[in-house]
Every structure is written in structure tokens, then in C-alpha cells.
Amino acid sequence: MKGTFAKYSALIPVYVAYGIMLLIGSKMSGMWQLMAMLLFYCALGQAFNIFLGMTGYVDFGYVAFMGVGTYGMALGITRFAHFEGLGVGIVIIGYCLAVLMATLLSLAVGAVALRLRGAYFAIATIGVNEGFRYLIEGAKIWNGSEGMIFSGQLNKVFGREAASALSTFWADIFVLIIAAVAAFVTLHYMRSKIGYALTALREDEDAAKVMGINVTKYKIIAFITSAVFAGLLGASAWALKTPYVFPPEVFEIHYTVEAIIIVLLGGAGTLLGPVVGGLIYGISKYYLAIILPGFQLIIFAPIIIVIIVVFPEGTVGMLKKKVRGTSFERYIV
């Protein structure tokens, strides 16, 4: 038991941070929106970090998994709303569909793309967004470019009040849960064979193979995990919060950009990084929106470049170096 505590104690700062955000949001008036947004960015960072941070590969089409998760929830609600008495069940079905669809898409993309090396992989994923979005629009799947609206069904199943609570409160709680679970999974991977294999393949893929590591297998594990969390996030933060899904919106590349910023800022491949990155980015964006709306990418894009050139390990990465050998070491991971 003691060993387990030591192993997972790195989660404490993460959960404390989430707890504080939850507290502030619920106790201080008017702060719920901001906290919810910060939690969303932390969750996005945690999910994206599992792939980018741990493998060192960039998936430029990442938002497609969020989009697919949104569709999963939308389908769950619209197709099952007419079954009497399912109640909360349709949300569960929606999540199951989101996970299923994210897994399938990631398997399809991964099977092709993950056998390719860095640059070719990035190229392959650039098109995933566009490709999938245009498939939906082009073949008129799920209403094509018109999207789906399901606020009506939600009201019908839950009643107006409960449906509203779902969108404004419970959806954000689900995001918090996703962030917490993603953090746990990240740490679990890091401490297990998977984490060691990923570190090796990130540092030197050829040497990793010589050491006996099946790099493709581990890349796929990280990829699917990251994709599933993205799907869950899309289902919660998009479908449940705003009950409609519209292809150009859910396949918007700027969410991928934000995910990249968050992970790089915080520290790619670290546990605490996405939390720090999410907080910095979220708070900056919130206040920038008041002073200079629409400006955040113009400011953050050069910041990305500066980070890559000057301190690629990110905030937590640098912190880790400072605490190496001290008793804080086990909490800054």
C-alpha cells in the first residue's frame, strides 16, 4: 500500500488544483464559467499530452476525435430519445457511442499513419480533420453539413429544468471527471512498462527497437487512449453543453492549436504540465478576450515558436530539473 501511495502521489498536486477550481467555481458567484473553461483546457491538455507528450509525435488532426465524440453523444440522444424510461441512460449510451467511434476512427487512422515516421505521420494526420469532415458533409452522413440539433430531445427526456442543469452544470462536472481520469491514466502509463517504452521510442525510435520494444504497438496504445479521451471531451463539453453539432465547428483546427499550446507551455510529457498549461492559457485567453478579443492566437503563435526554440521542456519540464534530488521530486512529475 505504501508503495502504491508513493507511486501515485504525483497525482496529489493535480487533484488539489482541480479541487480548488471546483471550489472557486461553486462558491464564488460568477466564476463557474471561467472555472469550467479552465477545466476544459486542462482536460484537453491531459488528453493531448498522452499522445504528443509521451510519444513525441504530433497529430494535427486531433480535433477530429473530439468531433467524432460529439457526434457519438448526439447520435445517442437523437436515436434513443424516443425510448421511454431510459432517462440518464441515453447519456450513458451517448458516451459509449463516443468512445466506440473515437476508438474506431483512431484505429483506422492509426493503422495507416502510425507505421510512418514523424514527418510522414504529421502529414497523414493533417488531412484527418479535413478528410473526415468532408466525408460527413460530402456523403451527407448524419445530416451532412446541416448538422444535428437535439435540444428538443434533451428537453423531452429530462424535462426543461433538468436538461438545463445538464448543460450548465453536469456537463462541466463530467469534464472535471475526464480531466481527473486522464491524469490518472497518464501517471499509470508513466509508471508502467508502457511509459518506459514510450519514453524510449520518443528519445530514439531505432535504439528502442533494438532494445526489443514494439514501437508501433505502443504508439497505437497512446494514440487510441488520447483519442478516446478527446471523444469523451467532445461528448461532454460540446454535445452536452450546447445541444447541437455542426461539422465546421466541431472539426475546427484551432482546438488542435490550443491543445498544442497548452501541452507545450506546460511541458510535454509531464503529468502536471497540462494543468499548468491549461491554467496559463485559459486565464490568458479569458482576460485577453476582454481587452483584445480574438487576439489570443496571434499572441500565442509566436509564443509557441519561442518555447520550442528556447525552452522546449515547458514550464513543468524546467521545474522538474530544479527539484531533481529534492523531496519535491515525487510531486512534480
Binding site: V112, A119, G127, V128, G131, S145, I260
Partner: protein, 295 residues
């Protein structure tokens, strides 16, 4: 009659393909010499598009004359980005240059949005059309096609007949060997990157000669994807391969659009874009080094 239509389609596809090919040459050049994938490729095309837009609408300058302006702008941007960031990342993991070029693209797009706003714009260059018997081609498209071919030929001479161009080729082959032979590899890197960007921005002008509407800060995205498909088709490191890949892609895209337009219950435009992506995946699966073997 059908044959005429088919040939007409073929010609249109080739004309489009020449422009697509030119659009991709910069990408292939940068990858060939520096082994850097310019993920922000489309944003630079957008810069060229806006250049020709404003030169025409603002100063009445005809797009053909916008070409040298675009080239200079592109070279300048290329040098700036190279010396401020790329140079320091050449030894970093691949991830670094991928993200850096991506961020450059985002920066350009957001700056454009800030300066120009995000509405769609266009311009209208009223020149006549010419008839090629089986099909009708607006002169602007013809100019764009000829311009692309002309630039491609110029590049050929550059690579084979000039010192700088030959130096670039040597670095593509073997950068260590080139260094040992006295080639200023650092200089070649800088020039190649700048030239690659210059070509890309110029292609934006040619593109607007072909499609003078729909110009907006985010227009680059679909072209990035197409450029990658073409580059992979033609062999990622070969500018010539890129040109021929462009021709093939132009034919495929035109052909697929025509076919999709005949099918019920589909949106042909969107489906064509999906089709491009499918081609990319298939090629990456079968032969990532490109269909065209350069010797």
C-alpha cells in the same frame, strides 16, 4: 461528343494541375534540402493571394506583375523565419520544426485576419476567354498555367546551370559531403528555405489568377492538404516530382469532381476533398517515397 467533353475535362485538369504543381514545389524544395516539413504551407499561399488581391484592387496592378512582388515578399518572409527560428531547430527532434512551421502558419493567418478581416474577397480581372476547340479557357487560367510552367522551367535552369542551384542539389544528396567539398551549407539552407517560401507565396498569386474568389485568411488549409498529397505523390524531396505530381493530382481532382457531380445524394465539392485525403492515405500506405522515381 462525350469524347470532346472528356478531352475538355482533361485539359482543364492539366491546367489546374500545373498550378497545383507549382504550388507544391516550394514544399518539396524545403523538405529536400532541409528535411523540414512546412506544415504552415497553406498560410504562405494565402499571403500570395492577398498580395495579388491588393495590388489589383488597390493599385490596379495586373496579377502577372504581382508575381515578382510576391516572390520578393516570400523571400523576405523566408529569410526572417529561417534566421529567427528554423536555423536553431535543425538539430532538434522532428517535432520541433513541425510545430514551429505550424505556428508560423497560424501567426500569418491570425495576422491576416487582424489586418484584413475574415470576410471572403475576390477580384475580377476582365480578360477574354480563348476557345481550344473542345473547351473554353479564360485567359487568366491560361496565363496562370503558362506562368507555372515558366517558373518550373526557370527552376530547372537554376538547379542545373547555376552555382547556387547546384550547391542546393549537392546538399540534398549529402549534406556532409557537400560541406567537405566547401559548400556553404548554412547559406544553402537559408537560401533554400527562403526560395521555397518565395515559390509558395508566388504560387498564391497564380492560384488567384485561376480562382480569383474566396480569398480569406484561412483559405490555406485545403491547399496545405493538397500540396502534401501532391508532394507525397511526386516524392517528397523532389521539386520536379512535385510538378508532375501536381499534374496528376489536377487530373484526378477534376475527374473525381465530375464523377461525384453525377452521383445523387452527395455534395461533390466536399466529397472531392475527402477523396484527396483518401489518395494521400493510400499512397502513404503503399509507397511513401512517392510514385515517381527520380534517378
Amino acid at each position: 461528343m462525350i469524347l470532346n467533353q472528356l478531352i475538355g475535362n482533361l485539359i482543364q485538369g492539366l491546367v489546374l494541375g500545373a498550378i497545383y504543381g507549382m504550388m507544391t514545389m516550394g514544399l518539396s524544395l524545403i523538405f529536400g534540402v532541409l528535411k523540414v516539413v512546412n506544415v504552415g504551407h497553406g498560410a504562405f499561399i494565402m499571403v500570395g493571394a492577398f498580395t495579388s488581391l491588393y495590388l489589383f484592387n488597390g493599385l490596379g496592378i495586373v496579377p502577372i506583375l504581382a508575381i515578382p512582388v510576391a516572390l520578393i515578399i516570400g523571400l523576405a518572409l523566408g529569410f526572417i523565419f529561417y534566421y529567427s527560428a528554423i536555423r536553431r531547430l535543425l538539430n532538434a527532434p522532428e517535432l520541433a520544426t513541425l510545430l514551429a512551421t505550424f505556428a508560423m502558419g497560424v501567426l500569418l493567418e491570425e495576422t491576416a485576419k487582424f489586418i484584413f478581416g475574415s470576410e471572403f474577397r475576390g477580384y475580377n480581372w476582365p480578360v477574354s476567354k480563348i476557345s481550344l476547340g473542345v473547351t473554353v479557357l479564360p485567359l487568366t487560367k491560361l496565363y496562370a498555367c503558362l506562368g507555372s510552367i515558366f517558373i518550373a522551367v526557370l527552376l530547372y535552369f537554376w538547379f542545373n546551370k547555376t552555382r547556387a542551384g547546384t550547391a542546393m542539389r549537392s546538399v540534398v544528396e549529402d549534406s556532409e559531403g557537400a560541406r567537405v567539398c566547401g559548400v556553404n551549407v548554412q547559406g544553402v539552407y537559408a537560401l533554400s528555405f527562403a526560395l521555397g517560401i518565395g515559390l509558395t507565396v508566388t504560387s498564391g498569386v497564380l492560384l488567384t489568377m485561376f480562382i480569383p474568389v474566396g480569398i480569406n485568411p484561412y483559405m490555406g488549409g485545403p491547399y496545405t492538404l493538397k500540396a502534401f498529397v501532391i508532394a507525397v505523390l511526386g516524392g517528397l524531396a523532389s521539386p520536379y516530382g512535385a510538378f508532375f505530381g501536381g499534374l496528376i493530382f489536377g487530373l484526378l481532382e477534376n475527374g473525381s469532381y465530375t464523377i461525384f457531380a453525377m452521383l445523387p445524394h452527395v455534395e461533390p465539392f466536399a466529397l472531392t476533398r475527402f477523396f484527396s485525403f483518401l489518395i494521400l492515405l493510400i499512397i502513404l500506405l503503399i509507397r511513401p517515397t512517392g510514385l515517381l522515381r527520380t534517378k
